[in-house]
């Protein structure tokens, strides 16, 4: 019989290393998360009084048209943002994976928006998309199209926010996928060539399968990031004036912010937040479960 000796390090040592980060984490992150759950069962309005109201906030949220609208806006926003970020990221990663002249230049330029301040670029886009005088509309008119309302209409405002978000972030996923591409073992390609595969088949049977772990990671990251987008919505669609035209750009996180800091409804806002949290958890768990079906891990 083999005796497994698991030696634990001394308590003192563990505490010295663990405490700085863990203590702060507990106080400023973990505790607020738990408290959020608790607050969601109250009618707290930011003042000195508080009362327990049970599930009332949740019930209100579920049949509140404001919450439902925010839910659909969020869903639309997340789906389109993730889709375009990943697709564009993949396309450009594939391009840059070839022997391209000036590869690091292009990679640098495309990645640049990722590091810039969201506020600054949102302001620049507001200028560009100005419905009456902006260069984009001027350009459209000069080639014979009708100008679009961009941020001024509920039909196009969400699309505009998506454009800004994708513009900013797809470089990040491009870099991730590029790295993924570069770790694919070249012998796999050689083997495929020997079998007579052309570039399309190489892509389908070597590149794509080998890329799936990184692709999976990108999708998870993109999903999580998309749910958290706030800055652009705040600046592009008039922050304090309650979101885009007819609430068309109010995502769930933005609604949470508005309800808490604009409507004095902190208890209700926490309930919304917990519902959002559950949604994110469910989606993430679903993705993790499904990954077995399509993600191939290293065989070699």
């Amino acid at each position: 019989m083999r005796r497994l000796l698991i030696k634990h390090d001394s308590v003192r040592d563990v505490l010295i290393f663990l405490l700085p980060s863990f203590l702060g984490f507990c106080i400023f992150i973990l505790f607020p998360i738990i408290a959020s759950v608790g607050l969601s069962f109250t009618n707290y309005r930011g003042g000195k009084t508080i009362a327990f109201v049970g599930l009332k906030n949740y019930l209100i949220a579920f049949h509140s048209s404001g919450f439902q609208e925010a839910f659909w806006v969020t869903l639309t926003f997340v789906v389109f943002t993730v889709f375009f970020q990943i697709v564009l990221g993949l396309v450009f990663a594939l391009i840059l994976n070839q022997k391209i002249v000036g590869r690091s230049f292009f990679r640098g330029i495309i990645f640049l928006p990722v590091v810039l301040s969201t506020i600054a670029i949102s302001l620049a886009f507001m200028l560009i998309f100005n419905p009456q005088k902006g260069p984009v509309n001027n350009f459209l008119m000069s080639i014979g199209f009708d100008p679009l309302a961009w941020l001024a209409s509920p039909k196009t405002s969400l699309m505009t926010v998506i454009i800004v978000t994708v513009w900013r972030q797809f470089g990040y996923y491009m870099v991730l996928l590029l790295c993924g591409l570069q770790t694919i073992n070249p012998t796999l390609y050689e083997a495929a060539e020997i079998d007579g595969a052309d570039s399309v088949r190489k892509f389908r049977h070597v590149t794509l399968p080998m890329l799936t772990p990184i692709l999976f990671l990108c999708i998870i990251l993109a999903l999580i990031q998309a749910f958290q987008v706030f800055d652009q919505i705040f600046v592009l669609t008039g922050g304090q004036q309650g979101g885009g035209p007819a609430g068309s750009t109010t995502t769930l996180v933005f609604d949470i912010y508005l309800n808490a800091f604009n409507n004095w409804q902190m208890g209700y806002s926490c309930a919304e937040a917990i519902i959002l949290l559950i949604i994110i958890l469910v989606i993430t768990v679903i993705q993790y479960k499904r990954q077995q079906k399509w993600v191939t891990y290293d065989i070699i």
């Binding site: 698991i6 984490f25 670029i121 620049a124 806002s269």
Partner: protein, 274 residues
């Protein structure tokens, strides 16, 4: 003589790259050139990227507050980066190399918390900050920003790649954990530390939401908040807004061009190991 066949896909690839470059640079070019134009000229079409009559007035208008905002951003960001360095390296080490009960469960909690948007728990966090009397202070920003699990996660991943044998032999030589940490682990981690510092700097320099909630005093505002507030004052015109935006992006752009290699490397490491 062999003539090399030009692959049409490659041409397409180049075209895409050029288009992408233009799309990326266009808003930035508009931003920079508008910052030197007066209101009338900003919306001239076709756009003259080099302004006909450049003016410095837009930048002059920023002189009252923006130097302050920039100083605040530097101060707060650097403090956070340093604090994060301390907590993330120690925490990462605790999860990677030390053995203790419940280690993996706790780590799972860390990962879980990463996925939760700040807006979900901002209200209790806000109430907490208020209770300890730190509302409207830089300390509040530092406290709420330092402990995010991302740094810890990255260092844990990296430390796990350091061979245990190195540590074991040091222990045999009688070294304490602290000595092992400072004399062996940290020196080995220099590139990762650099990368993490740069990524952190970028993130917190651009952070908007926390300052939005926790800062109101004019003299405490960081750059993103100052910029957003500046843009919403009702007599502000586009020119100064663009000038302020340019100021916001310069430090990070400089950092980026200098440290591009590290940033990309960092994303690579965090991605692959994730």
């Amino acid at each position: 003589m062999r003539r090399k066949k030009i692959n049409p896909w490659v041409i397409l690839g180049y075209i895409c790259l050029v288009v992408a470059t233009l799309v990326v640079l266009f808003p930035l070019a508009v931003m920079v050139s508008s910052s030197f134009k007066d209101e009338m000229a900003i919306f001239d079409y076709p756009i003259k990227f080099i302004p006909e009559n450049p003016i410095l007035d837009n930048y002059r208008q920023l002189g009252e507050h923006f130097p302050r905002y920039i100083m605040n951003s530097f101060k707060v960001t650097i403090i956070i980066v340093i604090a994060q360095f301390i907590t993330a390296t120690t925490g990462g080490y605790a999860f990677a190399k030390l053995r203790w009960k419940g280690r993996d469960t706790v780590f799972l909690i860390y990962i879980g918390a990463l996925m939760i948007p700040l807006q979900v728990y901002i209200i209790p966090q806000f109430i907490l900050i208020r209770k300890i009397g730190l509302y409207d202070s830089h300390l509040a920003l530092v406290l709420v920003s330092t402990f995010t699990a991302l740094g810890t996660f990255l260092f844990k991943q990296f430390f796990m790649t350091i061979p245990d044998s190195l540590i074991e032999s040091a222990k045999l030589d009688g070294a304490t954990q602290i000595q092992i940490f400072t004399r062996i682990i940290l020196p080995l981690s220099k590139p990762v530390i650099a990368t993490q510092a740069i990524l952190s700097f970028r993130w917190f320099w651009n952070d908007f939401f926390s300052p939005l909630i926790y800062i109101t005093s004019e003299h405490l505002k960081t750059l993103p908040l100052g910029l957003a507030d500046f843009a919403s004052e009702y007599y502000t015109y586009y020119g100064p807004q663009m000038a302020a935006s340019v100021l916001s992006i310069i430090p990070v752009m400089v950092l980026f061009f200098v440290a591009q290699k590290y940033i990309v490397q960092g994303i690579f490491t965090s991605g692959i190991k994730g």
